[in-house]
Amino acid sequence: MSRSLSRHAYDLPPHRGRQLAQGLGWFSIGLGLAEILAPHALTRALGMRGAEPLVQAYGVREVVTGLGILGSDQPRPWLVGRLAGDGLDVATLATAYHDGNPRRGSVGLALAMVAGVAVLDFLATEALGRDERRGGAAALPDARRRMFADYRGRSGLPRGVQASRGAARDFEVPRDFRAPEAMRPWRDGKPANDAAVASVAAAGSKPATAVPASGAG
């Protein structure tokens, strides 16, 4: 069957959708900076003098959504925001698309560009949405599914938590791993580790640890 008119003809694989989203993020920042820094040039080109504050506000919107797309693990909501922004742009440009505007042609071109970018925004939003709905792991075969849904029984301490508290107190923290003396706790008016200090002093310049003869083996 021909896919030319099918619903999936425009489907992008998730990684392409993510790449497209990244590109749109950078585009958004670039356009936003242009709108913030050069609003007069834009309004002059579009015959929309007096709309500079609005253009700058749109610029801030573009930069924020761009940063959101680039900085987020889940950029889809920001892309939805871009789509809404595309609608605003079209509505704003449409007010200047009339016979009385000598720059009507430029406005038409701008409308076409916004429409084109909106298509890209839509494609990226759809691709990431499909990926989210699929949930990555949701499509995994059973063998890869988690073994347990509830980890409340996974202590990793076969004797139980209470019985395991302090079970490794026989471990002596190596000298080079101890906190500075002034920052160790005191008990009964003395540094808590007096005994340990004495043992270290007795050891003199002995290295902090011995190197295993052959790894730990």
Binding site: L140, P212, G215
Partner: protein
């Protein structure tokens, strides 16, 4: 052989690559029986660590059987030995190795010049972890070449313990252990651990075993917090509770003595001003790492306390309150794990039944399924906390 190969950020594939061979007398070849995806592999997957190249074999947590031994390693290994491979490659002879600082071995990084340019001095070679650390092929593969194999191994008994119980001696168990040990834990300490991922889970059990008064774990993923609570930690969900208020309540207003960052460079705080600032700066490449956890730890830690940082950072952070650190007299301890410094002791504790590290495994799959599971693990979907692959 089959291996998981890095092609570009977010693109890891299971591909056919050449079998490894002995290149140096101290090498050995290991047939991998089990390997795991580590949280720090995700920094490579997401493209936040510099120095990866197309075709690099991933993975630094693996174990298996020795199938070939170079002439210079035969005094320590023989064909048929069952070994866990530590992620830090070390020579055992240089100044740092003689002090037990294996993760900064002076000889095992074959790209020393590049590493020194970035870090000032070279650090040790690591398996499957960028060309800054030697560009060695990793262990998410059917076979792995182990350089300095006479020292870079942990020999484990055959038959009595499963791969799942032993595999994490390669990284996350000693990493969680070292994170607590470098806090110099005391019986009256409260240890707060940011991140309930695999290293955070191991740090919780280590702190309990080492006998501190109270362990607190901060995360936002319910199943991870449930696992943390099962291990003896008091959970704080930073999306539904105020971390500052809870920590203050739990410590009588004084703050935890010891704070552990087992999150690292990709902190996922979502609703704080500094987190949004980091996201924006990272998005336009003005900052490489997101240090929200470091800032929060410095703020909440009790004066004269310790910040321990096993979480991986790769480059530059911004707006770190060093005045706060200085004036509160905090100690900061960091570093990649000196795995073999702790492995004998930790192996004994597994054998004695003090701990069974397999509790953390949530997914087991074949190597071919690895690429999909990278994404599952990264997105914390499907309850994924730890993935073990069977080549």
């Amino acid at each position: 052989m089959k291996a998981l190969v890095w092609n570009k950020p977010k693109d890891i594939r299971c591909e056919e690559v050449p079998d490894p061979r002995i290149e140096d007398p101290r090498d050995a070849i290991i047939k991998v029986s089990s390997c795991a995806i580590c949280g720090s592999d995700l920094h490579l997957y997401d493209g936040f660590m510099p120095g990866m190249e197309k075709g690099d074999v991933m993975g630094h947590e693996c174990m298996g059987e020795v199938v070939e031994v170079g002439s210079g390693a035969k005094h320590a290994l023989k064909v048929g030995d069952r070994v866990v491979i530590p992620f830090t490659i070390f020579c055992g002879q240089c100044d740092q190795c003689r002090r037990g600082n294996f993760s900064v071995c002076e000889r095992s990084n074959r790209n020393k010049d590049v590493s020194a340019k970035v870090f000032g001095h070279a650090t040790a070679g690591l398996f499957g972890y960028t060309h800054l650390t030697g560009g060695y092929a990793g262990g998410q593969a059917e076979y792995i070449r182990v350089p300095f194999a006479d020292t870079t191994h942990i020999k484990v008994p055959k038959g009595t313990l499963t791969d799942e119980q032993l595999l994490f001696l390669s990284d996350i168990f000693p990493t969680g252990w070292q994170a607590v040990v470098q806090c110099d834990p005391q019986p009256e300490d409260t240890v707060a651990i940011w991140g309930a991922g695999p290293v955070g889970q191991m740090a919780i059990r280590s702190a309990i075993l080492l006998g501190v008064k109270q362990v607190i774990c901060i995360d936002r993923v319910p199943e991870r917090l449930a696992m943390a609570e099962a291990g003896g930690a008091i959970p704080i969900n930073f999306e539904t509770e105020s971390v500052l208020e809870r920590l203050s309540d739990l410590t009588g207003g004084k703050g935890p003595e010891k704070c552990i960052d087992s999150v690292g460079m990709e902190a996922h705080a979502t609703a704080t001003l500094d987190a949004m600032y980091d996201r924006a700066k990272q998005a336009v490449m003005l900052e490489s790492d997101r240090p929200h956890v470091l800032r929060e730890m410095a703020y909440v830690c009790r004066p004269a306390g310790t910040l321990s940082v096993p979480g991986v950072y790769g480059g530059l952070i911004d707006k770190f309150p060093f005045g706060m650190v200085m004036n509160k007299g905090l100690t900061i301890r960091t570093g990649q794990t000196h795995v073999n410094r702790w492995s004998d002791d930790l192996l004994r504790r597994i054998e004695e039944g003090q701990i069974d590290p397999s509790f953390v495994i949530t997914h087991t799959a074949s190597l071919a399924e690895g690429p999909d599971l990278y994404k599952t693990f990264r997105d914390k979907k499907d309850g994924c906390i730890k993935v073990v692959l069977k080549p």
